[in-house]
Amino acid sequence: MSERASRSSRRTRPRKRLRASWALSIAVALAITGFVAAAQWNSSIARQQYTTSAQQVLAAQVVALEQEQKTLRDQLAQANTEVQGFQQESAGSQTALAQLNRQLAAARLAAGLTKVTGPGVIVEIADSKRPVPAGENPANYIVLVDDLHDIVAALWASGAEAITINGERLVSTSSIYGVGASILVNTAFLSPPFQIQAIGANGLLDRFMSNPAYLGRVANRIAAYGLEFATQETGSLTLPAFVGNTRFRWGVPTEGS
């Protein structure tokens, strides 16, 4: 009996400690649950305020169109690879063929239809994390299409040779277009953060940061509204080729200028 009592008293103490640590971890877990649940609840309230069933139907259509686009672009990229395969294998005079293939490779490179690598800069811009002060326009605190226009214009003007925005290669027919708060580049709908990668000769970043196209508008918005902004110079970037339509419907090439 006394032995049992002493054994049980020996056991009680560690058990209490054990219970306390369990309680602590459960409390932490519950606190996290509460936090996440509250965040979830808040965001669903916010969403319910703005989302109607019509919007959900429309949003579903957008998602379906984006999936269709991905398939089309994959098919187009595959077909272009096959074309290049035929061009390299073509029969005919070896000299004429070799010369034509060199011209084709150079033309593709100049047009942005080739994956390229080289030194360059990465510029990243995202919506501000600052709370929007009462009475101020919330649109000031998000990345606008003009911010991308300015950054891209400053990069080209600073000697960039190839540019992508979130992986979309910019070519002669590329537009950067705002649809409400969303941004279309080439055929793709992009969301922030926006990463602009540019290949160009050494000093590209310095030239970009001092270019009037950068300083004129977007630099002020970054400073005034706290848009998230970062730049990085890098020795080696690889940018994908443009995937999209390169065929003209209305224009025909004419010989001689």
Partner: protein, 223 residues
Amino acid sequence: MAGRAAQVSIAGVLLVIGMLLVGQLRSQARPTELTQLSSQDLSTLIETLSERNRELRSGLSDVDEQLREYRAAEAQGQSALDVSREDLRRITAFSGEAPVEGQGIVLAATGDLDAIALNDLLNELRNAGAEALAVDGVRITAGSVCVQGSSSLEIDGVAIGQTFTIRAVGDPNGLLAALERPGGIISQLKLFVHATIDVSQSHQVLIPATQRSLAPYVAKPVD
């Protein structure tokens, strides 16, 4: 037994946390962002994406046609050099290394337009499907942007005066409608700057080749 119960309840709590976290992450992903756009924005987005997908489909059928030509040449034991030459013509026209002609619009502007306004006009035309563009005699390539030079606007190092002409090859109706729509680029520019902008459609717009070299110096092709 008590330990088992605790394990079960902890597992339950973790499961709930996991589900909530996933819910939270999902709610921050694209589809929700989309539903936060207005119905009008979503409709514009659908219209734009449908149009772009149509372009891609038509581009794809052209490439398929080219592949058929290569296969036909191969089957007949003929040289496919002609098909490749056609491809070269097409690519140099696309990049700006070759001149282009076709239907389109001509925009004449006079006034206080700055570099941003001119770039916005070019961007609007590209978005509306312009295939080839020139400002005065300067062909607009991927990297051709208008900048404020020391004494005037410049594109590719060429001075652009206060009076200039933009030529665009593309669907004349589509290009004109995009420029002149209510609340569009021209009505915006007329609100903020003192300028006269006239747009007319043309059956034959000539776009010269670029004078600059488009061959990159530091960017190397990757196989």
